[in-house]
């Protein structure tokens, strides 16, 4: 097994997380800066409907994106693939939804696109170090628990389970559920964050 086979699965997760986080964050932010968010708040749409609508709408694109990235990695880059490709697509999709909900949530705290980009070193880069690409046991003890709050830890681990160890649903369901939990949490927080704009 080559190094690339080992980091490949992680890279798949990382790229998906990175792009979806940024694109979703920037476009939700633009919704606010161009005034369309406020315009929507003047309609009878509920806050949760807006957040869910965003996740669903973008979700369609992320399905396609996940499929393309995974197919590229496996068929073009020829990364080792021990398990089923469909599990990989499922995991990357959950990871994308997590990134999507986190991006839209954090965009509430950015004033412009540049500030959104500033979230990358805070949110995305640490995940590279804490999500299992590097050996976590060699890190300072107090830093190690941080890996538990990083979505990429679970996404990367699950992808590796499937691609390298040929794992199935039994190996990945806990990580998939945790990612779903992250998504729900971020979406709920986003619904609450929108309260700043309209109480209802």
């Amino acid at each position: 097994m080559e190094t690339f086979d080992y980091i490949g699965p992680f890279l798949i997760g990382f790229f998906i997380f990175f792009f979806v986080f940024l694109i979703a964050g920037v476009s939700f932010l633009r919704e606010r800066t161009t005034g369309t968010l406020e315009r929507l708040l003047a309609t009878p749409l509920r806050r949760w409907e807006m957040v869910a609508g965003y996740v669903l709408g973008f979700g369609i694109f992320t399905v396609i994106q996940s499929a393309i990235i995974v197919a590229f990695a496996i068929f073009v880059l020829d990364i080792m693939m021990a398990g089923s490709i469909w599990f990989v697509v499922l995991i990357t999709l959950m990871l994308a939804v997590t990134a999507l909900s986190l991006g839209t949530l954090l965009s509430a705290f950015a004033k412009n696109e540049l500030q959104m980009i500033q979230f990358i070193p805070i949110v995305v880069v640490p995940q590279v170090f804490f999500s299992g690409l590097f050996n976590i046991e060699t890190m300072a003890d107090w830093l190690q628990p941080l890996s538990y709050i990083m979505p990429l830890t679970y996404g990367g681990e699950a992808i590796r389970d499937v691609m390298i160890r040929g794992g199935g649903w039994g190996q990945i369901y806990d990580e998939v559920l945790i990612l779903a939990g992250f998504s729900l949490l971020f979406m709920t927080l986003n619904v609450l964050a929108l309260k700043k704009h309209r109480k209802l």
């Binding site: 161009t34 369309t36 708040l41 003047a42 009878p44 749409l45 509920r46």
Partner: protein, 242 residues
């Protein structure tokens, strides 16, 4: 009930900055109520609170006898923001379809309403164009069309005719009259004095206070002024002397 909008003792601060102070006003059914005031007077802040997007710091706002913000009421309000809130990547038609579907307009009905609203603002032939290629005035007109799509009982327009030429401005006002004759209550902000004359009721806003209200005629007569502008200056001056 005849009172459609009831603003009672409303104050609004942003942090320590007091933007509106003890505003009370009422708008009756089918009135065209104009909020007149210089830039920064607090017009936008007030209409946003009435539309339910902002909440007052003190006081209360009732629309159709229901405390705002209220989601059910929002279906009955059409709101046109001061800054055009449109999706630039979408065509004019797609923008209108989006807003129409939020209000549950579907199929034939949706098509019919979009055609009507677009022809009203003279945009029919530009509907296929992407909105980022629109001129400022075209965007204004599209925003107006989006606000009237669902035939709201109450229309709140924040400076609707900025950047619109006099001919079209007149035709938009004619439509507002028509809507008001059919029972639509209209609240419009402006800082153009000649537009104020067109309203049935006026509220003059200055530095966050309502300095005068009444019909344009009443306001002119009670200050023995020839124009609304003079009346406005009169009320503004009175406050200065105090």
């Amino acid at each position: 009930m005849n009172t459609v909008i009831q603003v009672s003792d409303v104050s609004k601060n942003f942090g320590s900055h007091i933007v509106l102070e003890k505003i009370s006003l009422q708008v009756n059914r089918a009135a065209i109520y104009g909020l007149l005031g210089p830039s920064g007077a607090g017009k936008t802040t007030l209409v946003k609170m009435i539309a339910g997007i902002e909440t007052p710091t003190k006081g209360s706002i009732k629309v159709l006898d229901t405390l705002m913000p209220n989601l059910h009421n929002m279906t009955k309000i059409g709101f046109m923001a001061q800054s055009d809130a449109l999706y630039g990547e979408l065509s004019g038609k797609e923008n209108l379809e989006f807003f129409a579907s939020i209000y549950g307009l579907k199929g034939e009905k949706q098509k019919e309403r979009i055609e009507h609203a677009a022809s009203l603002v003279n945009l029919t032939e530009f509907l296929k164009k992407q909105v980022h290629q629109y001129s400022g005035g075209m965007k204004r007109r599209l925003s107006l069309a989006a606000a009237i799509l669902h035939e709201p009982q109450i229309l709140i327009l924040d400076e609707p005719t900025v950047g619109i030429d006099p001919v079209l401005r007149q035709s938009i006002w004619n439509e507002l009259y028509k809507l008001s004759e059919n029972g639509t209550t209209i609240l419009v902000t402006t800082h153009v004095m000649d537009e104020a004359e067109k309203c049935s009721q006026l509220g003059m806003l200055r530095d966050g206070r309502l300095i005068a209200s009444g019909s344009p005629r009443q306001l002119k007569e009670s200050t023995s002024s020839e124009t609304i502008e003079e009346a406005f200056l009169y009320y503004g001056g009175v406050r200065h002397e105090n």
